[in-house]
C-alpha cells in the first residue's frame, strides 16, 4: 500500500475518531442535562399558614432532611376596596402571627402573596408613582416583620402572584420598584412562576418590560390541572400536564431558577354529573369528615396528592436547573408530610 494511501487512511480515521469523540461528548452532555441534573445547592420548604407555630415533629423533620431554607409567607396583598379603602389601593391582609421565633440557623426567605385582583386595583390608578410608594411600604413592612420575628440577615424576598398576560406589566413594574429598593440593601428578589406563566414571558427580546424582574425565579410545579375538571387524573401534579408547558420555556429568560414540588393533597368533590362542588382540605380528609355535613350535591370525592412518581418524572424533565438552585417543597405541615416516606422526601431533595 503506498505511503500516501496510508497517510490518507490515518488522517481519515483520525478525523472520524475526532468526530466520534465530539459526538460522544455532546451526547453525554445532553444526557447529563436531561436525565441527571445537578443536586440542589439548598433544600427549602414553604410555611404557608397564618400562624407560625411549627410542631416538634415538623422541626425535627426539617433537621432530619437538612433543610437550610425556610420560605415563610408573611401576608397577602388584596385590593383595598374589599376592606373599605380606595378602589385603586392595595392592603396587606392575613398577616402571619408568630407564636415562635423563626429559626436563626436557617436562611429565612419572606414571601408575599399578591392577589391578581390587587394588581388590577393598582392598574386603576393613573398615578405612575404609586408602584414606587407601594414598593417602599412593602419592603418596610417585610423588614419590620423579619426584624421582629427573626433577626437574621435578610438575603432574599420572594413575591408570589398568579399574574396573567393582562396584569403582567403592572405586576412587573411593581416588582422592578421593589427590586431596586432591595438591591440598595443588598437583598435579592425572587418570584414564583407558574407553569402557565412560562409562555407569557420572553416574547420581545428587545424590550425591558418583557424581562422577568426577579433575580431568581421559582418554578412552581404544582396545581397543574383544573381543579373543577372531573376528567383529569390529578389536579395537583400530573406529569402529562407539565410537559406541554415546558416546551414553551425560553432559557434566555430564565437563567436562574429554583423549583418547588407539591407535598400536599386535597379532596375535590363533584356532583353526580361531574360538576365541581367544593375543595376539601387534607385535614378534613384525614379526619374522615369529608362526608359529614357535606353539601347535598356532593356525590364523589377525588383525592389529589403530589404523587412521588410524577414529582420524579417532572424533576427529570426540567431543563433549567443550575447547580445553585434550591429545591423547595410545599409545604410544612406534619399531616401532609407524614404521607411521604423518608426516602421519597430525600429523592425529591436529591435533584
Amino acid at each position: 500500500m503506498p505511503q500516501h494511501t496510508l497517510e490518507r487512511l490515518y488522517l481519515c480515521s483520525m478525523k472520524q475518531l475526532t468526530l466520534l469523540l465530539a459526538f460522544v461528548l455532546l451526547a453525554s452532555c445532553h444526557t447529563n442535562k436531561g436525565k441527571d441534573p445537578a443536586a440542589p445547592a439548598h433544600r427549602g420548604i414553604y410555611h404557608w399558614k397564618t400562624t407560625y407555630n411549627p410542631s416538634q415533629w415538623e422541626r425535627d423533620w426539617m433537621k432530619e432532611h437538612k433543610i437550610d431554607r425556610l420560605y415563610v409567607k408573611l401576608f397577602d396583598v388584596e385590593p383595598g376596596a374589599k376592606h373599605g379603602y380606595d378602589d385603586w389601593s392595595m392592603v396587606p391582609v392575613a398577616t402571619t402571627s408568630f407564636r415562635q421565633k423563626l429559626p436563626k440557623e436557617l436562611d429565612v426567605v419572606p414571601v408575599v402573596y399578591i392577589t391578581v385582583e390587587a394588581i388590577r386595583a393598582l392598574e386603576q390608578s393613573s398615578d405612575y408613582n404609586l408602584s414606587s410608594r407601594y414598593a417602599e411600604m412593602m419592603v418596610t413592612r417585610i423588614e419590620r416583620m423579619m426584624a421582629e420575628h427573626w433577626g437574621g440577615t435578610l438575603k432574599e424576598v420572594q413575591f408570589d402572584c398568579d399574574w396573567t398576560w393582562n396584569t403582567r406589566d403592572v405586576y412587573f413594574l411593581l416588582c422592578q420598584r421593589v427590586k431596586s429598593i432591595l438591591h440598595e440593601k443588598g437583598i435579592r428578589l425572587s418570584g414564583t412562576l407558574r407553569l402557565h406563566q412560562l409562555s407569557q414571558v420572553g416574547y420581545d427580546y428587545e424590550s425591558e418590560d418583557d424581562e422577568i424582574p426577579f433575580d431568581r425565579s421559582l418554578l412552581m410545579c404544582y396545581n397543574t390541572g383544573r381543579i373543577g375538571d372531573a376528567n383529569i387524573k390529578n389536579s395537583i401534579l400530573d406529569f402529562n400536564d407539565v410537559t406541554p408547558y415546558l416546551k414553551r420555556y425560553k432559557k434566555d429568560f430564565l437563567p436562574c431558577c429554583d423549583v418547588a414540588y407539591p407535598v400536599y393533597g386535597w379532596g375535590v368533590a363533584f356532583d353526580e354529573e361531574g360538576y365541581f362542588v367544593r375543595l376539601i382540605n387534607s385535614h378534613t380528609l384525614a379526619e374522615g369528615k369529608a362526608w359529614k355535613e357535606a353539601p347535598v350535591r356532593q356525590a364523589a370525592i377525588r383525592e389529589d396528592w403530589g404523587e412521588p412518581a410524577d414529582i420524579v418524572k417532572t424533576q427529570t424533565a426540567l431543563p433549567m436547573l443550575d447547580n445553585k438552585h434550591t429545591t423547595i417543597l410545599f409545604h410544612l405541615d406534619s399531616l401532609n408530610l407524614s404521607k411521604y416516606s423518608h426516602e421519597e422526601i430525600e429523592t425529591f431533595y436529591s435533584r
Binding site: G84, D86, V91
Partner: protein, 755 residues
C-alpha cells in the same frame, strides 16, 4: 375621470375651508352643576378643622409675638419634618443651615429670640406626625424592636422634663406632645395617667380637646370602643373615626352611626352628589365611585327614618339626587315631598325648590298651567340670582365682568352664581330642559324667549365688559392662508376687502380671529338654529310687539339686538330658499354689524371656481338673496327662452353653492365639533337643494333654444371641450379661444389639466 377632477378638487378644498367657523368649542348646559346642599364656597376645612388651626395660630402668635399669621400657618402646618429638623439643628448650633424655612418670618423671629422651647415643640410635633402617618397606614407593622422612628420619638419623649411641662408659655404644648408620644409608643397606661394629671392644668381649650382625643384613641386600643367614640363624637374628630382612605359609603355609615348631625357628614354628602352631577355631564366611563350609588341611597333612606338625624332634608335631597342620577326623576320628585318641612334653613329650602323645578321640568307634561308655574319659578330664580350677585365681593364681580363669555369663561363666571348655572341646566339642558320641552310641545316662541333670557341676561346683570365690546365696537379680523406664486404656503393678516387682491388666482382659506365667542355658540342659539324661519320671525315679532307682561319681562332681559336676529332670520330664509323674505330681513342688518361677525364671506356664490372671491363681502347675504330672487323671477316670467334657461343655470349654481362651498349663506358653523349646531350639508335642506339644482341644470339645457346660449351654458359650467366640439363657431367659443388659452388648450390636449 376628467369630469370628476373639478369635483375632487372642490371637495379637497372644502376641507380647509370647513373650519371657517364661529367657534369649535361646544358647550352644553349639562356642564352646569345643580345638586347642592351647601354653598359652592363652603368647604369642610373652613368649618371644622380650620377652627383648631386658626385658634392654634392665634395662640402661637400670642406666645411668640409674631404678627404674621400667614407665615405661622405655613411654618406650623406646611413645614415638613426635614424643614423643622434643619431649624432645630441650626438653633443647636450644629453648623447647619436654617433650611427652607429661613425666609419665614415666624421662624426668623424664633431664631432671633433664640426661642428653643418653641422649636422643640414644633420639631417634636413634626416627628410625631410623621410617625403617626406611618402608623395610620394599613401597611404599618407594629414591631416591638427599636426602629429608627421609635428611637426618634423616644428622644422627643425623654426631652420633655418637668421644666418643659411647667413652662409658662409652652407648658400646654409640651403636655400635649408628651401624651402624643406616649400614645405612639404604645404606653396606654401612661397616656391615661398623664390625662389624669394634666387635664385640669391644660388651660388652652383647643389643646385640651385634642389631648382628649388621644385618651379616646387609648380607650379604643384597649378595646373600650364606646368610651372612645363618645369622645371622638363630642370633639368632632372624624379622621379618627374613619378607616384610612375610607370609601364614601363606609365613611357615611360610620359617621351616621356616631355623629349623625355633624358637618362632616354634610360635607361628604355634598362631595358625593357633586361627583354624581359631574358624572352626568361626562362622556368618560363611569368612575368606580359612582358605582356605589345603591349603597349611598340605602344609607340615605336609613338616615331619613333615623330619629337621631336632625337634618333629614339634606338626606332626602341627596337621595333625590341619586335617584335622578339613576334616571328616575319621578321617584326623585316624590323623595323630595315634604323635604322643606323638615328642619332646614332658607338656603336648603331654596335648594329643594330648585331641584324640584329641575325634576318637575324633566317629568311634566307641558300645558298652560305648567308653563305659568315654570315662568313663575324662572322669575323667582331670577330674583335669587340678583341677590347672589349683590352678595359677591367687588373683587369677584370685577373678575366676572372681565371674563370673555367663552364656554369655559361662562363656567367660571357662574361658579359663584349658583342660580345662573342651575337655571341654565333647567332651561337649556338637552332634550329634557324646559326650552326643549316647550319647543316640542309647539310653544317654540316661549321656548326661545326663556332660553334667550337664561342665556343672555347674565351678561347684562354682570355688566360684562368683554361681550359688550365685541358686540358693539370690535371688528373681526382674519388670517388668510394661501399658496403664493413661489409655491410656498403663506399666512397674512387681513383687515380690508382690498387686501384680498393678493388672493386672486391662488387657493386659499381664511381663519377668523374670533372676537365673539358667545353669540353663535351657546345652547340658546343652538335651539334657534334648529327652528324654522317663520318661528324665528314670530319670535322677532314678540320682541317688537309684546303681547303681555310675560313677553315684556322676558324681552327686557334678553338679547334682542336687531342685527343679530334679522341676520339669523334672513339666514334661515336662505336655508329655506325663500329669497324674497330673506332679503326683507337681511336688509335690516347693518354693514357695521356684518364686519363684527366671526364669519366673513369671501367666495363668489355664483362661481363654479372656488378661488374666485366675491365682489362684495359687506352685504354678501343680502346681495345673494336679491340675486336669487331676481333669478327666480326670470325663471318664471322671462319671455326669452334663452334668458330663462340661463337664469335657471345661474340659480342652480347659487343654490348648490349656498349649501356647499358658500355654506355660510345658510348656516353659522361647519367643521369640527359640530355635536350641537347644525351641519347644513347634512340636512334635508341641503339634499333637496342639490336635487333641485341638478334638476334645474338639466331643465336649463333643454330650455335653451340657440347655439349661442348653449355655448354660454357650457362655458359657464366649465365644460370647454363640449363648447369647442359642439359650438366652435359661437361667439362664446371665439371669445374663450382668445382670452383663455389654457381652457382651449385643455379641450385639445388633455395633458394640460387646468384652464
Amino acid at each position: 375621470m376628467k369630469k370628476l377632477k373639478p369635483f375632487i378638487l372642490a371637495s379637497l378644498l372644502t376641507l380647509p375651508l370647513g373650519v371657517l367657523a364661529c367657534g369649535p368649542f361646544v358647550f352644553t348646559a349639562s356642564d352646569y352643576r345643580i345638586y347642592r346642599i351647601v354653598p359652592n364656597s363652603w368647604s369642610l376645612p373652613t368649618i371644622v378643622h380650620d377652627d383648631f388651626e386658626t385658634k392654634n395660630i392665634i395662640l402661637w402668635s400670642q406666645q411668640t409675638g409674631c404678627k404674621d399669621t400667614a407665615d405661622i400657618r405655613r411654618a406650623v402646618y406646611e413645614g415638613s419634618l426635614a424643614d423643622w429638623e434643619a431649624v432645630y439643628r441650626y438653633m443647636k448650633d450644629d453648623g447647619n443651615e436654617l433650611g427652607p424655612l429661613s425666609k419665614n418670618r415666624f421662624v426668623r423671629d424664633l431664631v432671633k429670640k433664640n426661642d428653643m422651647r418653641a422649636v422643640e415643640v414644633l420639631y417634636g410635633s413634626k416627628r410625631y406626625e410623621t410617625i403617626r402617618n406611618m402608623q395610620r397606614s394599613p401597611w404599618y407593622y407594629d414591631s416591638h424592636i427599636e426602629t429608627d422612628d421609635k428611637v426618634g420619638l423616644m428622644e422627643t419623649y425623654r426631652l420633655i422634663d418637668n421644666g418643659r411641662l411647667n413652662d409658662k408659655r409652652y407648658g400646654d404644648r409640651f403636655k400635649f406632645l408628651a401624651m402624643k408620644c406616649a400614645w405612639a409608643l404604645g404606653e396606654d397606661a401612661t397616656v391615661l395617667l398623664m390625662w389624669e394629671k394634666f387635664q385640669k392644668s391644660i388651660k388652652f381649650k383647643p389643646i385640651r380637646y385634642q389631648a382628649e382625643d388621644y385618651v379616646a384613641r387609648t380607650f379604643e386600643r384597649m378595646g373600650l370602643q364606646r368610651l372612645a367614640d363618645s369622645i371622638y363624637s363630642s370633639n368632632c374628630n372624624y379622621t379618627e373615626l374613619l378607616p384610612y382612605n375610607a370609601s364614601t359609603p363606609t365613611a357615611l355609615k360610620i359617621l351616621l352611626q356616631h355623629v349623625p348631625n355633624s358637618l362632616e357628614l354634610t360635607y361628604r354628602l355634598q362631595k358625593y352628589i357633586s361627583f354624581l352631577d359631574r358624572e352626568q355631564a361626562s362622556s368618560w366611563p363611569a368612575d368606580p365611585e359612582t358605582a356605589k350609588t345603591d349603597s349611598v341611597l340605602a344609607i340615605a333612606r336609613g338616615a331619613i327614618v333615623n330619629p337621631k338625624v336632625h337634618n333629614k332634608t339634606q338626606w332626602r335631597y341627596a337621595a333625590a339626587c341619586i335617584l335622578d342620577y339613576h334616571g328616575k326623576p319621578k321617584e326623585a320628585l316624590s323623595m323630595l315631598k315634604g323635604a322643606e318641612n323638615g328642619e332646614c334653613d332658607k338656603f336648603m329650602r331654596n335648594s329643594v325648590r330648585i331641584l324640584r323645578f329641575y325634576l318637575r321640568t324633566k317629568t311634566a307634561t307641558v300645558n298652560d298651567i305648567f308653563e305659568r308655574w315654570a315662568i313663575g319659578e324662572v322669575k323667582w330664580m331670577h330674583d335669587e340670582l340678583k341677590q347672589e350677585w349683590r352678595q359677591l365681593s367687588d373683587e369677584k364681580k370685577d373678575e366676572i365682568k372681565k371674563t370673555d363669555g367663552s364656554p369655559w369663561g361662562k363656567i367660571v363666571m357662574t361658579d359663584d352664581l349658583y342660580c345662573q348655572g342651575a337655571l341654565c341646566r333647567i332651561v337649556l339642558d338637552g332634550t329634557t330642559g324646559l326650552a326643549a320641552k316647550l319647543a316640542a310641545a309647539g310653544r317654540s316662541v316661549r321656548a326661545l324667549q326663556i332660553a334667550n333670557m337664561t342665556e343672555n341676561w347674565i351678561f347684562e346683570l354682570t355688566d360684562n365688559d368683554v361681550l359688550k365690546k365685541v358686540r358693539t365696537t370690535t371688528d373681526s379680523t382674519y388670517w388668510v392662508y394661501f399658496t403664493g406664486s413661489d409655491g410656498k404656503y403663506h399666512s397674512e393678516y387681513i383687515n380690508t376687502r382690498s387686501d384680498t387682491a393678493m388672493l386672486d388666482g391662488h387657493d386659499f382659506h381664511i381663519w377668523s380671529e374670533r372676537k365673539n365667542w358667545h353669540d353663535y355658540n351657546n345652547p340658546m342659539f343652538e335651539l334657534a338654529d334648529r327652528m324654522t324661519a317663520s318661528t324665528l320671525e314670530r319670535y322677532r315679532e314678540t320682541m317688537l310687539h309684546p303681547q303681555n307682561n310675560i313677553d315684556r319681562w322676558l324681552n327686557s332681559h334678553s338679547y334682542t339686538d336687531r342685527d343679530y336676529w334679522e341676520d339669523i332670520i334672513g339666514t334661515h330664509y336662505l336655508r329655506e330658499r325663500n329669497y324674497k323674505a330673506a332679503a326683507t330681513h337681511l336688509k335690516m342688518v347693518s354693514p357695521t354689524y356684518q364686519r363684527r361677525m366671526n364669519l366673513r364671506c369671501w367666495l363668489n356664490p355664483f362661481s363654479i371656481d372656488r378661488s374666485s372671491p366675491s365682489l362684495d363681502s359687506t352685504c354678501y347675504k343680502l346681495h345673494f338673496a336679491l340675486r336669487m330672487d331676481s333669478l327666480e323671477q326670470a325663471m318664471l316670467h322671462e319671455q326669452d327662452a334663452d334668458a330663462r334657461g340661463l337664469a335657471m343655470l345661474e340659480y342652480s349654481i347659487g343654490l348648490q353653492n349656498s349649501f356647499g362651498n358658500c355654506w355660510w349663506l345658510t348656516s353659522y358653523q361647519k367643521g369640527w365639533n359640530l355635536a350641537k349646531l347644525i351641519d347644513i350639508t347634512e340636512t334635508p335642506y341641503a339634499r333637496q337643494a342639490e336635487l333641485a339644482s341638478n334638476h334645474l341644470r338639466i331643465k336649463a339645457i333643454h330650455t335653451l333654444k340657440t347655439d349661442e346660449a348653449r355655448a354660454r351654458y357650457y362655458a359657464r359650467i366649465g365644460h370647454y371641450r363640449k363648447l369647442r366640439l359642439r359650438y366652435p363657431n359661437s361667439e362664446t367659443a371665439r371669445q374663450y379661444a382668445l382670452v383663455c388659452d389654457g381652457g382651449w388648450m385643455y379641450s385639445k390636449n388633455r395633458k394640460i389639466k387646468k384652464s
